[in-house]
């Protein structure tokens, strides 16, 4: 029960920091003005066009595809593998388990592997391509190590050392219902959950901010309509953009 309580506290803490950290970052992005119209053109003219552009970026990684096919392939495998693997984990948080979550259980296993392969590919590029090696800080390597270890320990529990998933589910539901339950003391599970806590804690303080950040990127979310629509930020307005025009001179 001690272990269960420890992890309960850790998860509450990590969730609080994750949420508050992200809210504060997002608020800062939202409140910082974009004084000039700077979409990377050709850019959509309408709001729905911008929504479509953003959709293509988020779902298909359109710009990355133009930039680097290998990074695109590994990056896409990783992100969408992770998305499906995360969705698979919903079975630990729902009772009864939602139908679609039941239906994707088998895909989720392969998704976890795709995530692992994608991460491994990204790390290989970081080490092997001299340009990417040059721009990598220790934190860039550690981030990949962390995610690989999370994926690896998860896959390990499926294929190497099973844990008592009924007890795990009791633990997670207990977290949600504020009715703390014990956690099985299995090494892989403890590693898996500890690393997830670490990931949640560093999320709002690291490059993982690319996730909320991309929605605020002015080069992607602005419309190309500067001639038709006058765009002025508050601080620029204060500069009295058009001071009283000089009187007519010849």
């Amino acid at each position: 029960m001690l272990l269960g309580s420890l992890f309960a506290v850790l998860f509450y803490l990590a969730t609080a920091i994750l949420v508050l950290g992200l809210v504060s970052r997002i608020r800062r992005y939202a409140r910082t003005p974009a004084p000039l119209v700077i979409p990377t053109t050709p850019a959509p003219i309408t709001r729905s066009g911008v929504a479509a552009r953003m959709f293509r970026e988020v779902v298909f990684f359109e710009s990355l595809f133009k930039g680097s096919k290998w990074s695109w392939l590994f990056g896409w495998l990783f992100h969408f593998g992770m998305l499906i693997a995360l969705a698979r984990h919903l079975r630990y948080f729902t009772e009864p388990v939602w139908n679609w979550v039941v239906m994707i259980q088998w895909v989720g296993v392969y998704a976890g592997m795709a995530m692992f392969v994608g991460l491994a590919g990204l790390w290989a590029r970081r080490i092997l391509v001299d340009r990417i090696r040059y721009i990598s800080a220790p934190s860039d390597h550690l981030m990949l190590a962390l995610l690989l270890a999370i994926a690896g320990s998860g896959i390990g529990m499926k294929y190497v050392a099973h844990t008592d998933i009924v007890a795990v589910k009791a633990f997670t539901l207990g977290l949600i219902r504020f009715d703390w339950q014990p956690l099985p003391a299995d090494a892989l599970l403890i590693v898996h959950l500890s690393l997830v806590v670490v990931l949640m804690l560093i999320f709002p303080f690291s490059k993982l901010l690319h996730a909320p950040g991309m929605f605020f990127s002015p080069t992607r979310n602005m419309r190309d309509n500067p001639r038709e629509h006058r765009h002025v930020a508050a601080w620029a307005q204060d500069l009295s953009s058009t001071p009283s025009d000089r009187s007519q001179v010849s």
């Binding site: 910082t32 119209v37 990377t40 710009s63 990204l122 001299d130 002015p218 010849s250």
Partner: protein
């Protein structure tokens, strides 16, 4: 001036990402602005004593004023997609010319002073203290970026290194370390009205000379009006168009189009410059002040429309920023776009059948088109996205029967900068300019060999100046580069009734 010894890159059948060569361009630095170039722009004359505090304060200020800077500092994941996209990296191999590394020069300071991770674990996240060495790197490498936005096309988050270069230059200027070339020019616009410091009498004289020259040449009395009250159109064009080659042939082309269309127009001696180097140094206030002269001239002359001549960054400022900086334009005729590009204007006339071109006039040429970075990725022509690519090509093909495009990954949104944009068109950066032109020269070389291309047309004064200087370094003629409106002007059929 000490002559820098360097080797012009060899043109290969394709462009490979070079091996990283740390420090290869660390020696490249433009001349530093003198106090007389700094002070009129509102910057301190020389390095201030508490430069570190001032720089960090300015950085905090900019982070709060520009969402782009704030988001871009946080969002980069170091995926490497941009690393082989910058023409300066491709031409020099210096890793600090990779867009992400150029950003990191500022990001490592941002992390150290503005993020918990960098305050507590600097080594882990690559954060460093702001030292003189960092400032030297900034001065060197923020003047090895032409703010062309090519990297932003490929970034999964749209990170635009130009925004960071602009912030870097603004911070540098605000601690007293400005760039002489750009700041001296901005000062000339503030006092005289154009980058060249060409006063009204000299301008009037030049235009008169052009009228005589054109009449002698084609026997038509094409006018180049200056400060003409009540004209319909105010033409604002880069001052290089007044006398530099091949720019002036473009200006002659515009004048012929106006003449044949029968639309009254005028230049202004008060606002005799479309270029706005305020964008290059990232300074909103100076950019606005430069642009303000144009609003004033339009009001004073009582024109109905403003048309902008061939100039890349000027068009970005005009199209994307003017309405914000000096709008609203409620005193102009709302039936025309404000501002309008000369290519849009001519294209419209052609489509309406108001102009006739004889493309056989340019039969001696095989032409390709260089998409200028600021037009391609920072603005638009026409009413639909991508008009910036089709409209100039339509004009060229209407004026010339032999047209061929360069390789697809070097045109349209993928276009390479000429190597001289963003305030780098100065002889103290000649090595950088030559090396940075390599990717474009390579693509041009390919169509010369495959299609016998004789000329490359462009719609940017900087591109034209840069190419006439650097193409000879690659064994190509300096007169290969021409204005789109030179082709139009040469093909124009004059209605002899007039």
């Amino acid at each position: 001036m000490a002559k820098v010894e360097f080797e012009t890159p060899e043109l290969k059948p394709w462009v490979d990402a070079p091996k990283v060569a740390p420090g290869a361009m660390a020696h490249s630095k433009p001349f530093v602005a003198k106090p007389e170039h700094q002070q009129p722009l509102g910057f301190p004359g020389e390095l201030v004593e508490n430069w570190k505090d001032v720089a960090l304060e300015k950085m905090g200020d900019l982070l709060g004023r520009y969402r782009s800077l704030q988001v871009f500092m946080d969002a980069c994941v170091k995926c490497g997609a941009c690393t082989d996209k910058c023409h300066y990296y491709l031409g020099t191999g210096d890793p600090k010319n990779m867009p992400v590394a150029r950003q990191d020069l500022m990001r490592k300071i941002y992390r150290r002073y503005f993020t918990p991770a960098g305050k507590w674990f600097p080594k882990l996240v690559g954060a460093v203290d702001l030292t003189e060495e960092v400032i030297n790197d900034w001065y060197s490498y923020y003047h090895q970026c032409s703010e062309c936005r090519r990297c932003s096309v490929y970034c999964p988050y749209g990170i635009d290194t130009a925004e960071i270069t602009m912030a870097g230059r603004e911070i540098l200027a605000s601690i007293g370390v400005g760039q002489k070339y750009s700041n001296e020019i901005i000062g000339k616009v503030h006092t005289i009205g154009n980058n060249l410091g060409l006063p009204e009498p000299a301008l009037a004289d030049t235009l008169e000379g052009l009228e005589e020259e054109v009449e002698e040449d084609i026997g038509v009395s094409v006018k180049f009006p200056l400060d003409q009250q009540g004209a319909d159109v105010l033409l604002v064009t880069p001052s290089a168009d007044f006398f530099a080659e091949p720019h002036v042939d473009g200006l002659i082309g515009y004048a012929k189009v106006f003449h044949q269309a029968g639309i009254s127009w005028t230049l202004s001696s008060y606002a005799s410059e479309a270029a706005n180097f305020g964008i290059f140094i990232g300074n909103y206030e100076n950019m606005q002040k430069v642009a303000q002269r144009i609003r004033q001239a339009a009001l004073d002359l009582g024109v109905k429309r403003i048309i902008v001549g061939e100039c890349g960054h000027a068009w970005r400022v005009a199209y994307s920023f003017w309405n914000t900086l000096i709008g609203p334009f409620d005193f102009l005729d709302p039936s025309y776009p404000v501002p309008q590009h000369i290519c849009e204007f001519t294209h419209d006339l052609l489509q309406r059948g108001a102009l006739k071109l004889d493309p056989e006039a340019n039969d001696d040429k095989v032409v390709t088109f260089h998409d200028s970075c600021n037009v391609s990725r920072g603005s638009r022509l026409g009413s639909a996205p991508g008009g910036q690519f089709t409209i100039p090509r339509d004009l060229i093909q209407a004026a010339c029967r032999h047209f061929v495009d360069m390789a697809p990954d070097t045109i349209h949104e993928h276009t390479f900068c000429c190597g001289g944009g963003g305030g780098l068109l100065t002889d103290d950066l000649l090595e950088l300019r030559v090396k940075g032109a390599m990717p474009r020269a390579q693509a041009l070389q390919q169509v010369i060999e495959s299609h016998g291309v004789t000329h490359m047309a462009a719609i940017c004064a900087i591109c034209k100046s840069q190419f006439s200087k650097v193409l000879p370094q690659y064994g190509m003629g300096m007169d290969m580069i021409i204005s789109v409106h030179q082709l139009v002007g040469d093909a124009l059929i004059f209605d002899t009734e007039q």
